[in-house]
Amino acid sequence: MMIRAPKSNLILGLVMVIFAAILLSLWIPLDTQTGLVEKIRRQVVIGDALAPTVAALFLLIGGGLLVVVDRTADGQPKPSLRGLGFTASLIAVICISLVVMRHAGPLSVWLINTLHGDTLEYRLLRDSAPWKYIGYLLGGTLMISGMIALVEGRIRIRAVLVALLAVLIMIALYDLPFKDLLLPPNGDV
């Protein structure tokens, strides 16, 4: 299903005009403490709302021009819903991989503790091998192989091996030579 080409600029323009209106009437007034200009110690100074208001005006004028002038322009983009759906699945794979990346290390420590009755803490192990690699290795491999599988339309062992190799190279590139670089998620767990 395709959005009809002559309408894409019109839709985009309207979305931008509505977004700019929400910005100007709700978000900026409600989410900034100082107005466009302020009087401080008998001196008028620029407030925090002015700059975002200028940004909103850019959006308003841009959206307005799309609606008024470029509405019937030639060569408008034709976004396809199937394409958007594919990218949404790519993003879903990335998000799942990031969740795995974030939690795989702590989860493996919890598993070891449960199975062996240890009292290890991931926070204390996060800069020592092999713990520091677990999340990155699993999450990274899942991310790359999942994306390759989506484009190819099938899951192949070759994709997993390529992904594993790529992640190992990245570990070698970022982690092994540098003491002060932390692979995700080891900086904030």
């Binding site: 894409s8 600029n9 323009g13 931008m16 989410d31 900034t32 403490q33 100082t34 200009v37 001196q43 100074v45 620029i46 925090d48 700059a51 975002p52 200028v54 940004a55 909103a56 850019f58 959006l59 004028i61 841009g62 959206g63 307005g64 799309l66 002038v69 470029d70 322009a73 060569g75 976004p79 199937r82 394409g83 958007l84 594919f86 990218t87 993003i91 990335i94 998000c95 990031l98 974030r102 991310m143 790359i144 994306m147 390759i148 484009v151 339309g153 994709a159 390529v162 790529a166 992640v167 990245m170 590139l173 970022y174 540098f178 670089l181 932390l182 692979l183 995700p184 900086g187 904030d188």
Partner: protein
């Protein structure tokens, strides 16, 4: 007492006698020199690989380089030397897939495909690559000479004639130029600029309350610059490229091997014929590059258009038309887009305003390492004490010249051997690039939330590409947003809270008028898609 020549000499020495990497036969080898060479070779390789471009290499390399060289002033020249090498290498490398396989790696190289690929189909691929290399290196040399000669004088003029209101107006003019000339239409350029400004203003401001933060502690700190820039520019591009690959997968044909026939050398007669085309394009590219905020895509388009109209009047009857395999078409494009790189450093160094993605990364490096703030103070020729920023600036010019020599000597050879890069499957390469980029962002900021921000900006970059909005105005507006607000506040205060400070001074008023005219003209006139 320090003079101009002393500064130039110190800049040259800073490159050749900078931090020593190792010694060879008892002679110290400067880290900066090796980094320029490494950057140049990496640049050609990524430029020659479809789907990759200079900014990707810069994004991945920046945290590694900073980790190797640290946050000291000594790190500036090796890191920036590498980035300059990548910028120059990627510019000439970008012509390889455009000529051999009709797949431009970057928008700058799109026009190169128009004549390059037809030449390849006629069995003249090696000759087309030689034309591209010669034109690119010539345009680059011209631009570097202009940078060396003009940048200090222009910067001094900027300092002498532009006060705070004029600088504010100039920033507005730059943003208007970017909005008007980059991307499909002025309206979409304005939207991209507006979104960039908006993102820059989240969580910042002068009040204790972090504005536009929606009461979220994550948003209260604002978006880190690398997150927004890499997200929109690189993750967005990776997502869009993967979608395009997926959509064309069914209809994808195999690449037929090409076979070169006949004479592939570039003769003096060819060079004599190409030189006027190269000269015109180099001039156009240099002028475009020297203007704040305007990038190489416009230069390539303009260079090609001017070359085409001139060629139509002077061409021999038996010569191919522009767009059908004319060597002049390749020369016009490559000379124009390459000549932007040198001149582009003029607004970057003197005003802190980037014109293309490569310049954005130079500013990112300066911000990350510290000790160098692009702006008018860089070119302050202090006589009594050394201005270290000026030494760095002349060091950068020296790095540009060294990269230029590499371009002439090994550039062509390396470029022609890089055709092999086309065989790396893009659908395997791009997911790896995505993880590499996310890792590069994380190792700089070490917070998981920056990865989520980067992914969010990546989705924004993807959506912008889907609806044909160029992400470059977004990136440049994001970088300039804080500077624009700060200069406006200072100008307002300095003029005694005069609300009309932008229009009651002649130079500022002229800039503002020009901004309005640029937008109105672009909105009125339909433009060719870049």
């Amino acid at each position: 007492m320090m003079g101009t020549l002393d500064y130039i000499w110190m800049g040259v020495l800073a490159v050749f006698q900078g931090p020593e990497l190792f010694s060879l036969f008892g002679l110290p080898v400067s880290a900066t020199l090796l980094m320029i060479l490494a950057g140049f070779l990496v640049g050609i390789a990524v430029g020659a690989t479809p789907g990759l471009a200079g900014p990707i290499a810069m994004a991945i390399a920046l945290p590694i380089l900073i980790s190797v060289f640290g946050y000291t002033p000594d790190a500036l020249l090796p890191v920036m030397g590498f980035l300059i090498g990548v910028m120059k290498g990627a510019t000439i490398g970008g012509a390889v897939p455009a000529i051999l396989f009709n797949t431009p790696g970057t928008p700058d190289a799109f026009m190169t495909t128009l004549d390059g690929y037809p030449m390849t189909k006629r069995g003249k691929a090696q000759k087309a690559l030689r034309v591209a290399h010669f034109s690119s290196a010539s345009g680059d040399t011209f631009s570097d000479i202009v940078l060396f000669v003009c940048a200090p004088f222009l910067a001094i003029m900027v300092e002498a004639y532009l006060d705070l209101p004029e600088k504010t107006a100039l920033l507005i003019l730059s943003l208007s130029f970017i909005a008007a000339v980059i991307g499909g239409s002025a309206a979409k350029g304005l939207i991209s600029t507006g979104l960039g400004l908006l993102a820059a203003y989240v969580g910042t401001g002068e009040d204790f309350y972090p504005r536009l933060s929606l009461d979220s502690p994550m948003l209260a700190q604002g978006f880190p610059i690398t997150t927004a820039v890499l997200g929109v520019l690189i993750i967005g591009a990776v997502l869009k490229e993967l979608e395009d690959l997926w959509r064309t997968k069914q209809a994808r044909g195999t690449i037929a091997p090409h076979r070169d026939t006949g004479d592939q050398r570039l003769h003096w007669a060819d060079i004599r014929r190409l030189l006027p085309v190269i000269g015109r394009s180099a001039l156009i590219g240099t002028c475009i590059g020297a203007l704040p905020g305007i990038g190489s895509t416009l230069a390539a388009t303009l260079g090609y258009s001017v070359g085409r109209s001139h060629y139509a009047r002077t061409k021999r009857p038996d010569a191919p038309e522009f767009g059908k395999g004319a060597a002049e078409g390749i020369a016009a494009t490559e000379a124009a887009n390459s000549s932007v790189s040198g001149a582009n450093l003029i607004p970057v160094l003197s005003l802190g305003i980037p014109g293309n993605a490569a310049a954005v990364f130079l500013i990112l490096a300066a911000e990350s390492i510290g000790g160098f703030n692009p702006g008018p103070s860089v070119f302050r020729f202090t006589a009594d004490a050394v201005n270290p920023e000026l030494v760095i600036a002349f060091g950068l010019f020296t790095a540009m010249m060294i990269a230029n020599v590499l371009n002439w000597t090994i550039g062509g050879l390396f470029m022609r051997s890089m055709g092999i890069m086309i065989h790396i499957p893009k659908h395997i390469l791009l997911p790896c690039v995505l993880l590499l980029t996310l890792t590069a962002i994380y190792v700089q900021e070490t917070r998981m939330e920056v990865i989520w921000f980067a992914l969010g900006f990546g989705v924004l970059g993807y959506l912008m590409r889907v609806v044909a909005i160029s992400p470059l105005p977004f990136v440049i507006a994001f970088i300039l947003g804080g500077k624009l607000e700060e200069t406006t506040r200072q100008a307002f205060a300095a003029t005694g809270s005069d609300p009309w400070f932008l229009i009651n001074r002649p130079v500022a008023a002229a800039f503002i008028l020009l901004s309005v005219l640029v937008i109105l003209y672009s909105a009125r006139k339909p433009k060719a898609k870049s």
